[in-house]
Amino acid sequence: MCRRLAAILPGNTVVIIALMMFCGGVQAHFQMLYTPDLAPIRGQATHLLMPFSHPVHGGPNMDIDKPEAFYVLSQRGTAAKRKKVDLMAYLTPVTWSSPINSSTAFEAKLPRKLTRSLGDYVFILQPSPFYEAEEDKYIQQHTKTVMNVGAVPGNWADPAGLPVEIIPLDKPYANWRGGVFRGVVTAGGEPVPFAALEIEYVNYRVDMALPGFVPGAAVQLPQDSFGTMGIKANAAGEFVIGLPRAGWWGICALDLVPGSLYQGKALSVDAVLWLQVREMN
């Protein structure tokens, strides 16, 4: 029934997305931590946007409460001392718009003095648990976005000490289209064998001023298996993904602390890592 309905409404993304939700298709939630350029040549003020979304479909987007933690770990050089700066004071609620719906998200406008130095900046967002009524459970996604200024590497490959985390084996900010990206899924600092992962492409252009997704999908999906790609890590918690298109890619490792509870309900403790992929012109 639902497939038939979708079939008679080609091209109407909003309706199809609504049908997918109505038909019980569980889509991947992704806590975004977005800034347009993850590898600037020179340090500058940094504007970050933090919607909770389904980026391959441009939504639906969910309202989120003020995050529990937001900070950056920066390091200039692999042997240098890592610096931690709390960024909670820079969080401001915003209305995130998209072709599907609007939601409450957060943004942070960091002054240049915080991100002018050469080196790596590992931004970390710990959102408040989100209640997903459809599944009657909470979701909390510990999210990392790694930016580099001026090509001097630092702590991009180091564990940030999160309860759950994707440890990059390749620089998340330096990826060519057609390359691969590798990582290790961890919980409590230990690899998670055969962890379930979901991969999504950010299929809508982000307008920083709006702020939100601009209508018009970059890629038309043959069917929804291509939207949220489910894979498994290997026995050592490692994974490899291909990067077939320039833009932003999200990797989410799901439910890494089974049995977790929040307010008497199941809590899925997830780890999210973002990549930026460049065209090789």
Partner: protein, 102 residues
């Protein structure tokens, strides 16, 4: 900015036998001091590497080295324009022009 990028490009070209590329940037701290940071593309420390500041007649105004955290701060030179040269050795220089220091 163009000259800054040019300096970067020249450095890269000049570093083909240099496994790690020297990198440098400088900032105006807004209090009549300038800070510069150095590093390498492999994450190596620039501590102890030479830094020289020249006026527009190539007279050396400051001749020093990067400190233990690969940075250096100095009073803004009292000249109209100047250049900061990070000397990573073996002819590998990164030049930052005062026009590009913000």
């Amino acid at each position: 900015m163009k000259r800054f990028l040019c300096a970067f490009a020249l450095t890269t070209v000049a570093s083909q036998v240099f496994a790690h590329t020297p990198l440098c940037d400088c900032f105006d701290n807004g209090d009549d001091t300038i800070s510069c940071e150095g590093g390498f593309s492999d994450g190596s420390s620039a501590a102890g590497m030479a830094v020289r500041v020249y006026d527009d007649r190539e007279k050396i105004l400051i001749d020093t080295v990067m400190d233990t955290d690969s940075s250096i701060s100095f009073p803004r030179p009292a000249v109209e324009s100047y250049t900061v040269v990070f000397d990573a050795g073996e002819g590998h220089l990164v030049t930052v022009y005062s026009d590009d220091i913000e």
